[in-house]
């Protein structure tokens, strides 16, 4: 008996030891979790309860200088699902309440508009061409239905993808909303909103899409927005972008992306297990809306320029129908762009509101390249407009003075032809190379002229000689000529803040040796001197160079943004003229060139005497640049029935002659004669600039006079 009790007592002691051991184990584990790993778990707990919410910033609005809206944000509804908020089935039951919620949502998304009576397109269905919706008349709708802007079609994630995404969400971040439908119709959004109580886990949010009221008119300038290109995802993410964000892809939307986007912020909120906001952590952090841009662009001028150019293209009767053209208008005092038209254009709304594959295909395969902004990217021989630069250089270098006579007649025949002896057989006159002046076809030449008259009549012979020399007269030479052309900004990027600019080409003898393995000939200098041959310029470069002559020597970087305001209207940035350089030509010499350009329009023998705007003195220079093409693939340059090469039409001008405030440069590819085709367009643009509707409509103020009469 005693032994038994002893056994019992021993075992009780063992039990107590076991209790102590268990306590020690539990406390040890507790120490490990709370003391050793406490920090990690604290972080995990915070991750549970704190949620980063994206607070989106409205993108900046773009206006023209008069406040007309060029780009704005249009409301659009997005449906999101938060996986963690979906109802869970009771343990062990086969019910699928989350699936039921999705079914219900899908039914609502499938609602057809009772008014339209047509089935709502599903993601796979073709967008139904609904009755033409009310359109902003400013949107120049392409008559082809291919490019018609449909109302943005709803995008709905297929059901199985939704379920996969939700499953993934449960692991990755059950509280991160997943976008499952975008751009849904208003009536669908209303239906869903009304039924939200029955749709736990579903959220309806407003996400704006970009709208361009001026469409085609400004597409080349503004560009458009779209998804981040695949290859640049990481770069954008490193800069704080969400993967599904829309970004500016070209035009100002691209180059001003940072300012337009603003600063979307993130707000930390504390949430409960159901994702409901318990409180906002820290200060309410507001997203900073994007900055608003007021362009230097004048939409009235842009419209007038577009209409004039389009009209000219429509009526063109050149070599073949002209399809492409450019109008650049800028302020020579600052470099501010007033109009920048490149035709053909496209409607950038297509890109933000859903472009069909067919329309995309048509845009990208169009031989006239409507997506190409040729005002900054197109490189063309500048033709006679280039002469203003050659004249400036010749005067500055002292090769000529204002009274130096050159031109037809040295060979005794005023026939508009100059014969250049063959460099290797100068004694063999049969090997002479003839160079023609445009006036040759009228059977005579311009005779001997000084530089002003040479510019006025656009005497090719004068400039052949000025550039390349003739007999004992030593010309400027290709290197000096190129130096001055580059001084005026040719052959280099103007630095306009639009993507896709080309630098053009100012050739040098070395360049020719490298690219053609041939020596530079005097004939090359001759061609270069009248803006032919190898010289290439963008229309914007010619406009910029013209501005430098107009303002007597200042080459400014062309700029587009006149004023930047924040969301409250405070001006945070203004256009400051950005001087690239003062050209190395004295103002007095530039004045001589200006006088020649004055003559081209205002003297009877000028090449563009029809350019008239009442009350304004205009100066300008025409250009008709031959170019080579081989559309019929016979390995010979195409010529018309008279054997002429096709020509680009140029006209560059500034006004008023004294204290110029506007430069207008017009280029019509394959347009024909500069004086006949380009100059009339410039006239209309200048007319619109100086006598635009705005000034005409300004009502005479009668009020002050009444007050005066009322006074005793």
């Amino acid at each position: 008996m005693q032994r038994k009790i002893d056994t019992a007592q021993v075992r009780l002691i063992l039990l107590r030891l076991a209790v102590v051991a268990v306590m020690a184990l539990l406390i040890g584990r507790l120490w490990q979790l709370q003391m050793v790993q406490g920090e990690e778990y604290r972080i995990l707990a915070d991750r549970n309860r704190f949620r980063e919410m994206d607070v989106t910033a409205p993108r900046g609005v773009i206006y023209d200088r008069n406040g007309e809206i060029l780009a704005q944000n249009e409301p659009s509804f997005t449906v999101m699902v938060v996986p963690a908020d979906l109802p869970e089935p009771p343990e062990g039951s086969k019910e699928d309440p989350a699936g039921a919620v999705l079914d219900r949502l899908m039914a609502l998304l499938a609602i057809t508009d009772p008014l339209a009576g047509s089935p709502t397109p599903t993601p796979t269905a073709q967008p139904t061409a609904t009755a033409p919706a009310k359109k902003d008349p400013a949107k120049q709708e392409d008559p082809e239905s291919l490019f018609a802007i449909h109302e943005r079609e709803p995008w709905i994630m297929p059901r199985d993808e939704i379920e996969t995404a939700i499953k993934k969400g449960y692991i990755g971040g059950a509280y991160r909303p997943i976008r499952i439908a975008r751009y849904i119709k208003d009536y669908q959004a209303f239906a869903i909103n009304e039924d939200l109580v029955n749709l736990p886990g579903i959220q309806l949010v407003l996400e704006p899409i970009r709208d361009y009221p001026t469409g085609n008119l400004t597409a080349h300038l503004l560009g458009y927005m779209g998804h981040i290109p695949e290859g640049q995802l990481e770069d954008y993410e490193a800069n704080g972008y969400r993967r599904d964000e829309q970004v500016g892809l070209t035009g100002l939307e691209y180059s001003r992306e940072e300012q337009l986007r603003g600063a979307p912020s993130r707000q930390t909120i504390e949430v409960d297990v159901n994702g409901r906001r318990v409180r906002t952590v820290g200060e309410e952090s507001k997203a900073v809306p994007g900055l608003n841009l007021y362009l230097s662009l004048d939409m009235d001028l842009q419209r007038a320029a577009t209409e004039a150019l389009q009209e000219a293209l429509d009526n063109s009767s050149g070599f073949t129908k002209a399809m492409e053209g450019v109008v650049v208008a800028l302020d020579p005092r600052t470099g501010a762009i007033r109009a920048l038209v490149s035709l053909p254009a496209y409607d950038n709304n297509l890109f933000t509101k859903g472009i069909t594959d067919e329309a995309w295909q048509a845009l990208t395969t169009d031989p006239n390249l409507p997506l190409f902004n040729r005002s900054i990217g197109g490189q063309y021989p500048p033709g006679s407009t280039f002469k203003i630069l050659v004249a400036s250089g010749g005067l500055q270098d002292g090769v000529i003075n204002t009274r130096t006579l050159l031109g037809d007649g040295f060979d005794g025949r005023n026939d508009g032809i100059i014969s250049l002896p063959n460099e290797y057989f100068p004694w063999d006159r049969t090997k002479d190379q003839p160079f023609y002046s445009w006036i040759h076809k009228y059977g005579h030449g311009h005779g001997l002229v000084a530089v002003r008259d040479a510019l006025t009549v656009s005497d090719d012979i004068f400039f052949y000689q000025l550039g390349g020399g003739y007999r004992e007269f030593r010309g400027l030479g290709p290197t000096e000529e190129g130096k001055y052309a580059k001084d005026f900004g040719l052959g280099e990027l103007t630095g306009i803040e639009l993507p896709g600019e080309s630098s053009g080409l100012i050739p040098t003898p070395k360049w020719k040796r490298i690219n053609y393995a041939e020596n530079w000939l005097t004939g090359d200098t001759y061609n270069m001197s009248i803006g032919q041959g190898f010289v290439l310029s963008t229309p914007l470069q010619m406009a910029s160079a013209t501005a430098a002559i107009a303002n007597r020597g200042h080459l400014y970087r062309p700029q587009l943004v006149e004023k930047i305001t924040d969301a409250d209207g405070n001006v945070v940035g203004k256009l400051e003229p950005d001087l690239i350089r003062d050209v190395s030509v004295d103002a007095a010499n530039l004045d001589t060139v200006r006088e020649g350009m004055y003559g081209a329009i205002n003297w009877p023998q000028g090449t563009a005497t029809k350019v008239k705007v009442s009350g304004v003195v205009i100066a300008g220079k025409t250009g008709t640049a031959e170019f080579f093409r081989d559309n019929n693939k016979d390995h010979q340059p195409d010529r018309d029935d008279k054997g002429n090469l096709p020509t680009h039409a140029w006209f560059t001008s500034f006004a008023p002659y004294v204290d110029p405030e506007i430069v207008v440069t017009v280029f019509v590819a394959n347009g024909g004669e500069g004086s006949a085709v380009a100059a009339p367009i410039a006239t209309k643009v200048l007319e619109a600039y100086f006598h635009g509707q705005g000034e005409q409509q300004a009502p005479p103020t009668t009020e002050p006079t009444e007050k005066v009469t009322a006074a005793p």
Partner: protein
Amino acid sequence: MRRALWKRFDWLLFALAMALSVFGVVMIASALSGNEVLAQWPWRQAAFLALGIALLLMAAAFDYQLLGSVAYLIYVVLLAALLVIWAFGTVSGGAQRWLAFGDFLLQPSELAKLGVIVALAHFLSTREARGRLDSILTPVVALMMLAPAVALIYLQPNLSTALSLLAIGGLMLMMAGMPVRHMVVLGLAVAAAAVPVWRLLLQDYMKDRILSFLNPTLVSTADRYNIDQAMISIGSGGWLGRGLFRGSQNQLHFLRVRHTDFIFSVTAEELGFIGAVALIVLFGLLLWRLTYIAGISQDTFGRLIVVGVTAMILFQFVVNIGMNLSLLPATGVPLPFVSYGGSSLWTMLIGIGLAESVAMRHRRFGFD
């Protein structure tokens, strides 16, 4: 006589049980704060506690030695009750465990533990009196006695309570003085039974829980959610905790079944290491006090009753906190005295009452 009896009432044991129970009510209040549907439940628990104290005192007043004669009867009645539930019980949460009285669900399987304790204590004490403890038949018969109760509870299904019955029985056998060689044989038998039990008896959800415990990477985050959140709650508590009613895991409901299975996690999160250790130490003191009472019991029957109560509390204490700390697989074992639940609390308090009854009637000339 009465007065003399109550003089020996073990106030320390009572105080420890009360401390744990009141602690439980407070933690339940914290766990359920902000929950409007269950806003009354902390008060309900307080009411259960009040009734439980009455039950404790009644059990203490009752001479446990009288239980011996009705021990088997009580056990048979309990088995019958389990049968009734098996036939007519209320289904909730996928298991048939409850008898509904209005909106109160009585869980007879909790009370069954007490029946098992009393019946086994009586059986083993009579075996000892006859000097048959050394016989291999003793554990075999004891297990056969346990078998119907374990089976009925297992079928509810309620694996954890069934296991706790086995644990109580096993510990009582050991403490009764079962020879070491029998323990070894029994241990081997259990090990041998493991494979057929796994194959034939365990249901899928039970296997899943055990597997997920053994290899956490096998299971999805969703399945591990409760355990993960418990770990986060405990770990984020630190030294002094986030403050009562201020634990983010608890108050924002990331932690599930907070007021029952994971009440320890709530404690560790809100009261920190200090609070959680205090809770563990309270249990340690209570268990130590129970073993002390077992030691001074005037007879084997009393000693084994107290040992049974000790085993019951110890098992649930270890399994529950072990689960909270991810040391043991997830089971629905409530933390004694602390977790919400009337049946559980009453079972514990009656158990303490039985121990008090033993303490009040211990050897007249004891060591103290």
